[in-house]
């Protein structure tokens, strides 16, 4: 079996519209590849072949009638934290293992109205808490570039699926880097939009002031195409911004001539892998060659981001996850004789180790006597981190950094040390705290064949500039036709 005929959603979309290929043929190709490879990659928690083929046939009818839009008939995978009516939604947790949503998320409704084909649901760290997808209660997803290594997380299933051509594109979610970090470690594009850009109705909540849904694709253009469909205000989500959605593919070709690119000192620190640093420095040079102006700057509160994040995110999580009580849906420990005992047994058995750790931490920092010292303090430092960025964006249009300090680590390498695991998100977390858009784009592969990602950050709602910088870099370093060996084998 060969590589996909169309490496990007953009190319596939053209071929579908031109009638060069049908959605049923393409969908069958991806379902066959899932059959052949996913026992090794373990990206999918649920595959829906019958549903996908039915959606593909419907898409083909629309295309024949000339009623198609750009994403009609394009297959896509969905992180198992975004609800699709009638399809199990587990969040990688035992506590939701039997949950079948009676409704779809707004992003799903939007994709459905474009007649996108849903292939299935993708693996993740339980409740999106993790950086390696090892916290899933069901399976450990592998990095397609080296099956002994993790794909990153928490959207590790989404990233691995797109990297191994088990889906042309996927949706992930990003609370502290969960789209960008796995995208970097799997050699694909991952975009976290501005907080408030995409509706979260139907997304299972982890940390509500940080969570955002975004596309994971094989090109920057593809990410823009998907954002065009999923962005926008939603009356069902009071945290979505009533703000016009531009065509994000427009202006991508304009280049970076005259663009000011900020390089923060704090993102090139001791402990960063030399191959990662070199690849990112080369990427900066490439944009300089393209006419960009490089500005050195400082984000002095960067070193406080992880501490701030682990107070705010766990506090919000402890509150959001209080709803899992075994009463209305999901798992229940049935032996309990009284209600309180039922709650406690259900939650203790239903949640995994990392989720319990974060619920405990979040409960502690919100508890009487500690709220001021931890939670309020963290919210104040969050303000300082936002100010750093506000000042930086007076001097530059976009900030360029490594996405991660190292390439993908080995399965099991960090599972015993939660702090070490948290530190792998050091370069991605600040964007969530400040609500900024961020994108990771492949910028190289190590000698050992592991992908490296470069991150572009922009001011809130500056997706057009962030995407343009990323696209301009990608044009100098195209990667969409690069696949791990196991795909071609």
């Amino acid at each position: 079996m060969s590589l996909p005929a169309y490496h990007t959603v953009r190319d596939l979309s053209r071929a579908l519209q031109d009638g060069a290929v049908s959605s049923t043929e393409i969908t069958r190709e991806y379902l066959d590849r899932i059959d052949r490879l996913d026992s090794q990659v373990k990206a999918y928690l649920y595959v829906d072949p019958d549903g996908a083929m039915a959606m593909a046939r419907e898409a083909d009818t629309l295309i024949r009638k000339g009623e198609a839009s750009p994403l009609t008939g394009v297959p896509i995978g969905i992180k198992d934290v975004i609800c699709i009516e009638g399809i199990p939604n587990t969040c990688g947790s035992k506590i939701l293992q039997n949950y079948v949503p009676p409704y779809s998320a707004t992003v799903i409704e939007k994709l459905k109205s474009e007649h996108v084909v849903f292939l299935g649901k993708l693996n993740m760290d339980e409740f999106a808490m993790g950086s390696s997808t090892e916290n899933s209660r069901f399976q450990v997803t592998r990095n397609p570039w080296d099956l002994e290594r993790i794909p990153g997380g928490s959207s590790g299933g989404s990233a691995a699926a797109v990297a191994a051509a088990l889906s042309p594109a996927a949706l992930g979610t990003d609370t502290g880097g969960s789209i960008r970090q796995p995208a970097a470690l799997c050699g694909i594009v991952g975009l976290k939009p501005t907080y408030g850009r995409v509706s979260r109705f139907g997304l299972v909540a982890f940390a509500s002031s940080l969570d955002q849904i975004g596309p994971m694709t094989r090109s920057v253009w593809d990410a823009a195409m998907l954002l065009n469909v999923i962005a926008g205000h939603d009356p069902k989500d009071s945290t979505s911004m009533p703000r016009e959605v531009p065509d994000y593919t427009e202006g991508l070709e304009e280049g970076v001539k005259g663009m000011r690119i900020g390089i923060p000192d704090e993102y090139f620190i001791e402990g960063i892998d030399p191959e990662v640093e070199k690849a990112v420095r080369d990427a900066i040079e490439a944009l300089k060659d393209g006419g960009a102006e490089v500005v050195r700057l400082s984000l002095p509160h960067t070193e406080y981001a992880i501490a701030t994040y682990y107070i705010i995110a766990t506090a919000e999580a402890s509150s959001n996850l209080a709803r899992y009580d075994g009463v209305r849906y999901g798992y229940r420990e049935a032996s309990a004789k009284a209600l309180k005992e039922m709650y406690e047994k259900t939650r203790s058995e239903g949640f995994g180790t990392e989720v319990k750790r974060r619920i405990m931490l979040g409960t502690y920092v919100l508890s009487a006597g500690y709220y001021e010292a931890y939670y309020r303090k963290a919210q104040q430092v969050r303000t300082l981190i936002r100010r750093d960025f506000a000042e930086a964006f007076e001097k530059c249009d976009v900030i360029m950094t490594p996405t991660t300090p190292t390439p993908a680590f080995r399965v099991g390498e960090k599972t015993d040390d939660p702090l070490q695991m948290y530190l792998s998100d050091i370069f991605t977390i600040s964007a969530n705290l400040a609500g900024l858009p961020g994108i990771s784009v492949p910028c190289g592969w190590t000698q050992a064949g592991l992908p490296i990602g470069v991150q572009f950050l922009g001011a809130t709602f500056s997706e057009p500039i962030v995407l343009r910088a990323a696209y301009s870099f990608e044009k100098r370093f195209p990667f969409a036709d690069r696949y791990p060996d196991l795909v071609a084998r």
């Binding site: 009580d325 009463v327 750790r357 931490l361 010292a373 919210q379």
Partner: protein, 100 residues
């Protein structure tokens, strides 16, 4: 601010978790390590700094309060671990009821 076993047990009660002894010991160790790390925030002077609870430039989002019937009630009940007629069924609420 190191936390001991008693505090771990208290937080677990607040979070409605029942933990085994091994789990408590592990959590005591992990929570102290993480709290030790986040202690670095206390080095920052944040006097007079407004806290950020979210980054949106909107404060309230109002809409008309319009009824929209949800037609799939049976699907919601279908997810319940236990139900009777159109109710979610739970074990007795008062603990002493269960022993009678």
């Amino acid at each position: 601010m190191a936390i001991g076993r008693k505090e771990v047990e208290h937080i677990a009660t607040l979070a409605r978790l029942s933990l085994g002894e091994e789990e408590k010991a592990r959590l005591e160790k992990d929570l102290n390590a993480i709290l030790g790390y986040v202690e670095k925030l206390s080095a920052l002077d944040t006097k007079g700094v407004e806290p950020t609870s979210h980054t949106l430039e909107i404060t309230n989002a109002f809409r008309e309060d319009v009824l929209k019937p949800f037609e799939k009630g049976e699907k919601i009940l279908g997810n319940a671990p236990a139900k009777r007629e159109t109710f979610f069924q739970v074990p007795p609420i008062a603990e002493d009821v269960s022993s009678t």
